[in-house]
């Protein structure tokens, strides 16, 4: 058994042992506040057991292991339905970026340790109402203010901002240059005066994302994490990290086995639906698509293990998997017919077809829309020309709104 397999076995055993305390069943019926509290205790338990910051440097409280141990653990962890998603973004992007670009090492170390133990949560303040897929088009501005800066503007789609203690933010510090060149990257205290967080209710009924307003929020210059005007590079570095978070060939929806079970239970024209060619075709097509994504995934890990850089095909997962999850979920509801109406908006997207269906559009848009992903593949991988962009090279304050 390889070291990695041994690691997987050990992790699986530990996760099994804490599942009763923190897992799916323990969470049933909890208010979101209680669920978050449970999540903080679970994060602390992971830290104590040596499963927090698995691939982070030990000097920051990490385990100093490789990305492989990390994805191995994540894959096992996913099975138990732990309340870990409150910390997914925090430990996924902002905190790693803080480690890389944070100016004051002592301060950084303190923050990272608290974040790893679930005491503090960080959010990522990028998107804006006017922005859409155009990150560099952001309008929130920071103006020089004494020895620091004064932030005014609005961010949106900020996950978990309503629970966050800190956030990383990109703002415009110079509107007179081309839009990519006038940005600067800071960290902010979400409790600072002038910061207002307003949750956004989503189509599915719940509210994990927020609008965040900045009214004359004053920060000192030691909050700056990039050169003045050099914020876009750090923002891109932040987004690159996302490519290495664990993928899911089910498109973060239910496993195909659940569809097969449904098709066996349900009768169509007096026979089990699993015998109907239309249903069989969807099962076969979705399995082929998912097994392809899984194989891409496994190969990427093996390459990393061998010290190679995985190919760009890794970016296909979100595009292909979420899109087909949406249609498969619709079919799963049609297949239940008059039994499909019964709806629980708190059911898990990974286990309930209606919940998977109603949240699928958010999945297709969050973290890069289908169109953005197709453009990225076409331009970065295949070398096709960029779209026509009238605003290219024009000073930001001269682009017609």
């Amino acid at each position: 058994m390889s070291d990695l397999e041994a690691y997987r076995a050990k992790a699986a055993a530990w996760l099994q042992s804490v599942a009763p305390t923190f897992g799916r069943d323990a969470r049933k019926g909890l208010s979101e506040a209680d669920d978050l509290a449970l999540g903080r205790r679970y994060q602390k338990a992971k830290f104590d057991a040596g499963y927090a910051g698995i691939n982070w440097p030990t000097e920051y409280g990490g385990q100093g292991l490789s990305h492989l141990e990390k994805v191995t653990f994540d894959a096992e962890e996913m099975k138990h339905g732990f309340p870990s998603f409150y910390f997914g973004i925090s430990l996924g992007m902002p905190v790693p970026v803080l480690m890389q670009f944070g100016p004051d090492k002592e301060f950084v170390k303190e923050r990272v340790l608290k974040a790893l133990q679930g005491e503090e949560i960080w959010c990522q303040l990028f998107s804006e109402p006017s922005g859409g897929s155009d990150l560099a088009g952001l309008r929130t501005k920071a103006e020089p203010d004494g020895n620091g800066w004064r932030i005014n503007g609005q961010k949106v789609w900020t996950s978990w901002a309503h629970y966050s203690d800190y956030g990383v933010i990109v703002v415009r510090t110079d509107p007179t240059v081309a839009k990519h060149k006038g940005l600067t990257y800071f960290w902010v205290d979400m409790r600072a005066p002038g910061v207002t967080v307003r949750p956004i209710k989503l189509a599915g009924g719940d509210s994990h994302v927020n609008e965040v307003f900045f009214d004359d929020v004053k920060i000192t210059d030691d909050h700056r994490m990039s050169p003045v005007g050099g914020g876009f590079a750090v923002a891109i570095a932040t987004l690159m990290i996302e490519r290495y978070v664990a993928t899911d060939s089910a498109g973060f929806g239910p496993h195909l086995d659940l569809f097969v079970e449904l098709a066996k239970d349900v009768q169509l024209n007096g026979r089990p639906a699993i015998e109907d060619g239309r249903i069989r075709q969807q099962i076969a097509r979705n399995h082929a698509m998912r097994s392809g994504l899984d194989s891409i995934n496994v190969r990427a890990r093996l390459m990393m293990q061998a010290g190679m850089v995985p190919g760009p095909e890794g970016s296909l997962n979100k595009l292909v998997a979420v899109r087909s999850r949406q249609k498969l979920s619709e079919l799963a509801l049609d297949l239940q017919g008059s039994d499909a109406f019964l709806f629980d908006k708190h059911a898990s997207q990974k286990e309930d077809w209606a919940s998977s269906w109603i949240n699928a559009p958010t999945g297709r848009i969050a973290g890069g829309s289908d169109e953005t992903l197709l453009n990225t593949i076409a331009e970065k991988v295949l070398g096709l020309p960029q779209d026509h962009r009238p605003d290219k090279g024009i000073p930001f304050n001269q682009i017609p709104a």
Binding site: L268, R278, Q336, D344, H388
Partner: protein, 364 residues
């Protein structure tokens, strides 16, 4: 029957659109999603005042003696503005069952109320995925019903239901007053559909048809409802296509309206195609009521309208990006309605089979 709308029909379309746009909006509909057992009363009041409830019913019983074409025009407009209750279709189906297969006494008893809209009707044929099951869950012995009809639209408000039941060795189409039935509300993703499980234990019922006649009758009622629903779905798809178009014209990215990007532009053009195909099938089907190929025409309308509404819901939200998935913008009202209408009266799986049986000349 011509498929060109005459002046009277065009007037119905214009008037119903005006009336609905004046009185129905997302601000009223959004809260209903989180309330079980409520529907949008102003919508139904409008339907009653405007006489839509009486439109396609016989004059002898308080109706206006118009037909599917006129009711379809209303349903199209109702779909555009998202109708606040399922009664336009459910009461129509119940009324047609009574008109076509009921006794004079039954007509006199029920049709006037259904025509005025004071009485609400429901159709309880389906058992799970099967819109017209070989073995219905409800059984009919003598003149009494037992068992539970699951997931019945309008079930929470209906006074009378037409039930497809399992009689002695053969199916039965039965008329039942719901006063004596137990109803339990089904919390759903589209609560104003008033979904209910309706439990019967020895509830008295009157038989409308038995055996293969009952199955043929039930399929005919489903087809009539399917044409009305197809118009409603087409209206919803048309509204979403226009919303997407308008957003693509105003929303800017990278210095130009997103409608200038072919991925957005062609997607909306494809929606136009789906809407027009669905509309054409709807007009054709409505004009074929009573003809030998009515079931075929109804199935085609139903299939293309379901595809149009589902695709429009997916794409319109996708084109909006983040704002499209917010609760407040309410595009999910259409997405939810697209699904509930896709399931009521049988899913695409059911209508595909009905259509092929017609085309291939097999028994339905």
């Amino acid at each position: 029957m011509t498929i060109l709308y005459d002046e009277g029909q065009q007037a119905i379309a214009i008037e119903s659109r005006r009336a609905l746009e004046a009185r129905v909006g997302k601000d009223a509909l959004l809260p209903l999603l989180e309330t079980v057992g409520e529907y949008h009363r102003p919508f139904w009041d409008t339907a009653k005042e405007q006489g839509w409830t009486a439109l396609a019913l016989p004059e002898a019983h308080g109706g206006l003696d118009l037909g599917l074409i006129e009711l379809g025009l209303i349903a199209h407009q109702a779909g555009r503005s998202i109708s606040g209750a399922p009664f336009l279709t459910s009461s129509f189906g119940a009324a047609k069952a009574i008109e076509l297969f009921g006794s004079d006494a039954q007509k006199a008893r029920w049709l006037p109320g259904l025509a005025s809209g004071e009485t609400i009707g429901a159709i309880a044929f389906a058992a799970g995925p099967d819109a017209l099951p070989a073995r219905p869950d409800v059984t009919c012995t003598g003149d009494r019903l037992d068992g539970t009809a699951r997931g019945v639209s309008a079930g929470l408000a209906a006074d009378v239901a037409i039930v497809y039941a399992n009689g002695p060795g053969m199916p039965v189409l039965a008329l039942v007053e719901l006063a004596g039935a137990q109803r339990s509300a089904v919390p759903s993703f589209d609560n104003s559909r008033l979904i209910a499980d309706i439990g019967f234990s020895g509830v008295p019922a009157e038989t409308l048809a038995v055996g293969s006649t009952a199955r043929g009758a039930a399929l005919h009622i489903l087809a009539l409802q399917a044409v009305v629903t197809a118009h409603e779905q087409t209206g919803g798809a048309e509204a979403l296509m226009e919303i997407a178009r308008d957003y693509a014209l105003t929303r800017k990215a990278f210095g130009q309206p997103i409608g200038a990007f072919q991925s957005v532009k062609h997607r909306i053009a494809e929606l136009y195609g789906l809407v027009e195909l669905a509309r054409a099938n709807c007009i054709h089907a409505a004009a074929r009521e009573g003809a030998a190929d009515f079931i075929t025409a109804a199935a085609a309308a139903r299939l293309s309208a379901t595809e149009a509404y589902d695709t429009a819901a997916r794409d319109c939200i996708q084109i909006h990006g983040g704002i499209g998935v917010t609760w407040e913008i309410g595009l999910h009202l259409h997405m939810r309605r697209a699904r509930s209408l896709a399931i009521e009266q049988g899913s695409s799986l059911f209508w595909e089979d009905v259509l092929v049986d017609q085309l291939a000349g097999e028994a339905a």
